[in-house]
Symmetry: none
Subunit: 200 residues, 2 copies
């Protein structure tokens, strides 16, 4: 029963890193289709790429996925109130942008699904790091250089990785605003509703 576990070669790993850098994390099929990397990774599936990338990330940051899960469990609070003065991790895609935009703006952001204290099940907590924090850690890990990573590279990395989220968030909010009547959609195009009253 020799399930020949095919270990990743340095060339493959390099191609994967380059592929992620070019197309972004989560674009596994795209990376495979790219002739620049596809030849090197021809014996790997998109799921293989995803798994390997996860291993690379998690190993660098936590040592292992097991440690990561243990670290996440620690954050389980007994009280239902949030005391985090900084950003707190949430589970909706909206939060990504909310955090990204509202860091020091000091404003309250009301997502479409506000966290009601008693009814929502304990969805997996992220830990004590914000999404941006995790992106930064990911960036420093992936762009690993002998002497560390400079701030500009980190910024560029986070910007690139935010794009897929932005697409989803904007699409979602466009639907929401259209449904709520703020926008009017006609023939694939959006316009401000006549009813919309500018807040400022």
């Amino acid at each position: 029963m020799g399930a020949p576990k095919q270990k990743w070669t340095p060339e493959e790993e390099l191609a994967l890193r380059a592929g992620v850098k070019k197309h972004g994390s989560g674009k596994w099929r795209t990376i495979l289709s790219d002739t620049e990397f596809g030849s090197v990774l021809k014996s790997r599936s998109n799921v293989d790429l995803k798994d390997k990338w996860r291993n690379l990330l998690v190993t660098a940051s936590f040592g292992s996925r097991r440690n990561l899960k243990a670290a996440q469990k620690k954050t389980l609070p007994s009280s239902s109130s949030k005391q985090n003065g900084d950003n707190d991790a949430n589970t909706t895609a909206m939060t990504v942008v909310a955090e990204a935009n509202g860091d020091d703006a000091g404003q309250q952001i009301v997502p479409t699904s506000p966290p009601s204290g008693s009814c929502d099940p304990p969805t997996a907590l992220q830990g004590s790091y914000t999404r941006v924090d995790n992106m930064i850690i990911e960036a420093v890990t992936n762009l690993d250089k002998p002497f560390g990573t400079d701030g500009k590279s980190i910024l560029r990395y986070t910007e690139e990785n935010l794009q897929p989220y932005m697409k989803r968030v904007v699409t979602s909010r466009l639907k929401h605003l259209t449904k709520a009547g703020t926008l009017v959609k006609i023939k694939h195009r959006y316009r401000i509703s006549p009813d919309y009253k500018s807040a400022g």
Copy 2:
């Protein structure tokens, strides 16, 4: 990275089952519009409902969509599968649909009474816009064209305008993580702290 996957809660699943029982399978938009279920399912789209129902069907009759497809293609079991608990495929695709519309799918379906708990406020918040919402509104306003603005232009606009925010946020979090000891800054470059793995 984060949690792009919004897991279905038991309340939502119950509402979906009830909705299908009342309006029939395939009437996703109708179910969403029904005030009886719309509140519970307010964060779901009609496509989400379709997908979830497909999943429910398939898990009830087969082990997975994969097994279902295999069974549909040829009435032979695929091969030696470790996880497949259902030894004999007892139903065909036809039977699945019959179950879905007529009888219960082997589960208890809430009749026509609203879900017990009041997990959500009766009225949605109006006039609360996220920062992305405001960006969208700004985009539609600024890119105003005779016939409105298409989604792709809106997305590009928001992406471009997000960058200045990202710069502020990343800078802020870099300081924070350095101060907290997660990162170590040496000569304008950041590295993961050796304490990071065990820190908690």
